[in-house]
């Protein structure tokens, strides 16, 4: 599903030039659950953002479902993103002015799904994430675990083929973290490809494969036994 060739990302600020990714070659297959690990600042988020088409690589190729996408325009990326990719962030990133329901509904609006259909799907997703009773609440009225479940509901609402999660349990206690991981695992089992950045070895244990990054390089790709 995802293929990178000699991916390089260099950040230039006034004083310094940081090479966040250096010749990264990756292949992620449909249906895989991949964990990306590594010390802080090694380029994990950068990699995830590039895969998610939120950022451009400086050099190298990025293939998505067989298409070269690294040169896509903003409009093309957005279209690709809204149909194929769901995001889960460490800091949830819900819109404060929207209710739980409306937050989850948002991607469907941009997919021009009809009202009735939206309602049905949002309710279904909320049921599934076990948060339906909070549909009318605002994000700030929820606990961290609940907010992250809303964020996951939003990520899956458009039935994306790929979910990118950047430290999804980073801001959660272990019980809530556990629940989030269960949800992600379940989604993967239903066929969604998941790429997750994490610091937690136990979270990483859920994955099929762990990619170790160090200083912008892939150091090991550790295939795990399928359970």
């Amino acid at each position: 599903m995802i293929n990178t060739k000699n991916l390089i990302k260099i950040f230039r600020t006034d004083e310094v030039e940081t090479t966040a990714l250096n010749n990264v070659n990756l292949e992620i297959n449909t249906g895989e659950f991949v964990a990306i690990m590594g010390p802080s600042g090694c380029g994990k988020s950068t990699l995830l953002n590039i895969i998610g088409l939120l950022d451009n690589p400086s050099e190298g190729e990025l293939h998505f479902n067989g298409f070269r996408v690294e040169k896509y325009t903003e409009r093309q990326r957005t279209n690709l993103r809204k149909e194929n990719i769901g995001f889960v962030f460490q800091s949830f990133n819900l819109i404060d002015e929207l209710t739980v329901f409306e937050n989850v509904e948002l991607p469907l609006l941009y997919l021009k799904v009809s009202g009735a259909e939206r309602k049905r799907r949002v309710n279904e997703a909320l049921e599934r994430m076990n948060i339906a009773h909070r549909a009318k609440h605002f994000p700030q009225q929820l606990s961290g675990g609940q907010q992250q479940r809303v964020a996951i509901a939003r990520a899956v609402i458009s039935n994306p083929k790929l979910i990118l999660a950047d430290e999804p349990t980073g801001n959660l206690d272990s019980a809530n973290g556990e629940e989030v991981m269960n949800l992600l695992t379940q989604l993967n089992e239903e066929g969604t490809t998941i790429v997750m950045v994490t610091h937690s070895p136990s979270d990483a244990d859920r994955s099929h494969r762990i990619i170790q990054l160090f200083d912008g390089h892939v150091v090991t790709e550790n295939m795990r036994q399928k359970l």
Partner: protein
């Protein structure tokens, strides 16, 4: 989508109350001012439009050409003109003369008398030219007989109550009897021609003994209505020499003014007419609306930090930039709509005050399609202008930047430019209104060359020469009265002029000097406390003084006389000698300078009695009334203070300046909101930096000084721009006045000081707010 949009806006509105309030109030104030101005402009431009065929109505006026190249335009035309041109030009369908009754008339029905001064004297064509609806009686041609009178509803009601006035007799000045032929609707307030009653033209001759065949005198308005499809410029060209063809030496050329322009446009080329105010206020409306929009932009982008996350998330889940631009535009249009709602309430509340200020009966034209359209236009334009920049700016955020928390490119430069423009406009308005205020104050207080305080005058309707000597004899005995005199006009606005003056040494060049002419009685100079430079004033002690002239300095200068006193002088066929020179005094608007003036004693023309009274006004007035009531028992006692007339003379200007000043202040307040937005933006951006500085021990003072220095720089720059701008605009405006102030530095310094003070207070307030927060709080939420 719309529902979600609305929800988001309403919720963020609710969440950020202070900010939303500032934003909405800024816009609402702007829209309110614009609406008020538009209502007024609509009223002014709607004058006379109720006449059905207004496009075919013209006013014939005179351009008088003088030696020095001056052209002086007046509506006054000779009496025979109307009928003569109607006969000469078949394309002129109707023509009428129109003149206001000279002062008061006493109308009596039975033993009841009414002193009325709102009469018009016209020809029968008047009713065919204008469309004032006739309610009762003869509808088409009321003036088929000489002794007729047309009353307005109002006056008919006053004189006859509920009974039918048609056919009833009304007595004029106890001399003439005329029959009420028609009752006409009261002319609306936005009619240039207004009246309480209308008399047929023959009365002008009867009442005032005027030669109606004189092509040289000019007293009457002439209005014509032309056939459909007549090219007015061609007709005007043909009319141009009409008077010259009849009066060989005349300096008069005729011209046409479309009646549509009668109210707004001055016929004198060098005068602007009320259209000037209409334009100025339209400009102000646009400026205020722009200031309000800029203000919105500032406040909206100042809050961009808060919106950034929302934008990023929307983009992550699939929003395109266009959609977001639409979202933010929708939001600003929505804000504009709310503002409109508030503005309409405000306008309703303010209209009575504004009506009084403008002396117009203004109303919100809810059912006026044109008005509603322009209001919707304003709201949409306001929404789009004010939303444009925030929309482009906010929608340009890349999700990655927000998610990573990288600082975005700063839009500060544009915002600074906006604030500088906004501030420059407001400061310029501030300075202009200050100068306008000073100038008008100067006009009202300036020395006119005589003492206009403690001076009352009485207007006499009839029998002046019988009553006046008796009155004067009695009045002068009253201890509170110093001087009593008479004249044909009061010096607030002399309107009598002639160029038919002769003196020794008159040259070809001085052929066409226009002299103002006034007929005054003995003691005139003393009553008005004017200064005699040479010779003396008219005095009973010197005998009749009938062929004696007093001239003013300007006249003496124009005539280039050597000895002056005792020099022979001729006006028309009166020949006499100059007995005195009076120091120049003002007898017209101060916009015009003092013109050469000749005064002579001609009791036949007297209409006014001027009385110099002492401090004890009330008792003196009572005594005058007592004398009046015994001398002229059948005419009610009415009088005026000259001072009030003088004020009245400038009411248009002072009214406009008041409105101008009010709007300026409002613009200023809105700008302050803009400044506030900018300051809070900068402090918000800098709050992290400042929190860190605080952690490391920097005092708030240093931070404060730093910010203040930056803002002062911008405000001073705005001041510089505004000063230059307003200086030139005001110099241009002041050129229109013969008597004018010199622009002083004070108002500029005041504007600078006020703007700096406001900046200081705003920065101080924001810093103070920040200082109250602990660094931990700031850093945590950054």
């Amino acid at each position: 989508m719309l529902k979600i949009l609305l929800n988001t806006v309403l919720r963020s509105l609710y969440r950020q109350k202070a900010y939303s309030l500032m934003n909405i109030m800024g816009l609402a104030t702007g829209v309110t001012c614009t609406l008020l101005i538009l209502i007024w402009v609509e009223y002014e431009t709607g004058f006379d439009k109720f006449h059905e065929e207004i496009d075919h109505i013209y006013s014939v006026y005179e351009n008088q050409n003088y030696a020095d190249g001056d052209v002086f335009s007046v509506y006054s035309t000779p009496a025979p003109l109307a009928e003569s041109i109607k006969k000469s030009f078949p394309e002129i369908k109707y023509a009428t003369r129109l003149v206001t009754t000279l002062g008061q008339l006493v109308l009596s029905v039975g033993d009841k008398s009414y002193v009325e001064d709102g009469g018009k004297i016209v020809d029968d064509d008047f009713f065919s030219i204008f469309s004032f609806p006739i309610l009762k009686g003869e509808k088409k041609h009321p003036f088929q007989e000489e002794n007729s009178i047309v009353l307005t509803e109002k006056l008919a009601q006053k004189m006859f109550g509920e009974s039918n006035p048609i056919g009833r007799m009304v007595e004029l000045n106890s001399k003439f009897r005329c029959k009420v032929v028609s009752v006409i609707q009261n002319p609306p307030a936005n009619s240039s021609v207004s009246f309480d009653f209308i008399l047929p033209f023959q009365f002008f001759e009867k009442l005032w003994d005027y030669d109606l065949n004189d092509w040289q005198a000019n007293t009457f308005h002439t209005f014509i209505k032309v056939e459909k499809g007549v090219a007015s410029d061609k007709l005007a060209l043909q009319l141009q020499t009409y008077i010259k063809d009849r009066v060989p030496n005349s300096n008069v050329e005729l011209a046409l003014q479309a009646f549509v322009e009668y109210h707004l446009y001055a016929i004198n080329a060098n005068k602007a007419g009320p259209i000037w105010y209409v334009r100025v206020f339209l400009i102000i409306a646009v400026l205020i609306l722009l200031i309000a929009c800029f203000n919105y932009m500032n406040l909206a982008t100042a809050r961009s930090e808060r919106r950034a996350k929302e934008v990023a998330i929307r983009k992550v889940v699939g929003a395109q930039r266009n959609g977001l631009v639409g979202l933010f535009l929708g939001e600003s249009i929505f804000f504009a709509l709310i503002s409109l709602g508030i503005a309409i309430v405000l306008v309703e509340l303010l209209l009575p005050v504004f009506s009084e200020l403008t002396d117009r009966n203004l109303a919100l034209g809810i059912n006026n399609i044109k008005f509603l359209l322009s209001v919707s236009g304003i709201v949409i334009i306001t929404g789009i202008i004010s939303g444009s920049y925030p929309a482009l700016f906010l929608s340009s955020f890349l999700p990655i930047q927000v998610i990573r928390g990288v600082s975005r490119k700063d839009s500060a430069l544009l915002r600074k430019v906006l604030v500088i423009i906004q501030f420059s406009m407001s400061i310029a308005l501030f300075v202009c209104s200050g100068i306008i205020y000073q100038q008008l104050n100067f006009l009202q207080q300036s020395d006119v060359g005589y003492n206009r305080n403690d001076l009352i005058y009485i207007e006499m309707s009839d029998d002046f020469n019988v009553i006046y000597p008796k009155l004067k004899r009695e009045l002068i005995k009253i201890p509170g009265i110093y001087w009593v005199t008479a004249a044909n006009q009061m010096p607030v606005n002399f309107t009598n002029s002639t160029w038919d003056v002769g003196w020794p040494g008159k040259t070809e060049n001085s052929e066409d000097i226009l002299f103002q002419l006034s007929f005054v009685d003995y003691d005139f100079i003393e009553t008005f406390e004017m200064d005699v430079i040479q010779g003396r004033g008219f005095s009973r002690l010197q005998g009749e003084d009938s062929l004696k002239f007093i001239i003013n300095e300007s006249a003496a200068e124009k005539m280039n006389m050597v000895n002056t006193i005792g020099e022979p002088l001729r006006i028309w066929n009166y020949s006499g000698e100059v007995i005195g020179i009076v120091k120049d005094f003002n007898f017209r608007s101060l916009q015009v300078g003092v013109e050469p003036l000749i005064m002579m004693r001609n009791p036949d023309t007297f209409k006014y009695i001027g009385i110099r009274i002492g401090e004890d006004v009330e008792p003196t007035l009572n005594k005058i009334r007592a004398v009046w009531d015994t001398t002229v028992p059948d005419v009610p006692f009415t009088y005026r203070f000259l001072e009030e007339d003088f004020k009245y003379f400038y009411t248009a200007e002072s009214r406009m300046s008041k409105i101008f000043v009010s709007f300026t202040l409002i613009a200023f307040v809105i700008s302050c909101l803009g400044l506030f937005g900018l300051v809070s933006f900068v402090t918000e951006r800098k709050s992290r930096e400042m929190a860190l500085r605080k952690v490391f021990g920097a005092s708030m003072d240093t931070v404060f000084q730093l910010l203040l220095k930056e803002f002062f720089k911008w405000v001073l720059f705005s001041n510089a721009v505004a000063w230059v701008l307003s200086y030139f605009v005001m110099e241009w405006w002041l050129k229109g006045f013969a008597y004018r102030i010199d622009i002083g530095i004070g108002i500029f310094i005041l504007a600078g000081f006020v703007s700096l003070l406001i900046t200081f207070v705003t920065v101080y307030q924001q810093i103070w707010r920040l200082a109250l927060k602990t660094p931990a709080h700031v850093l945590k939420y950054e």
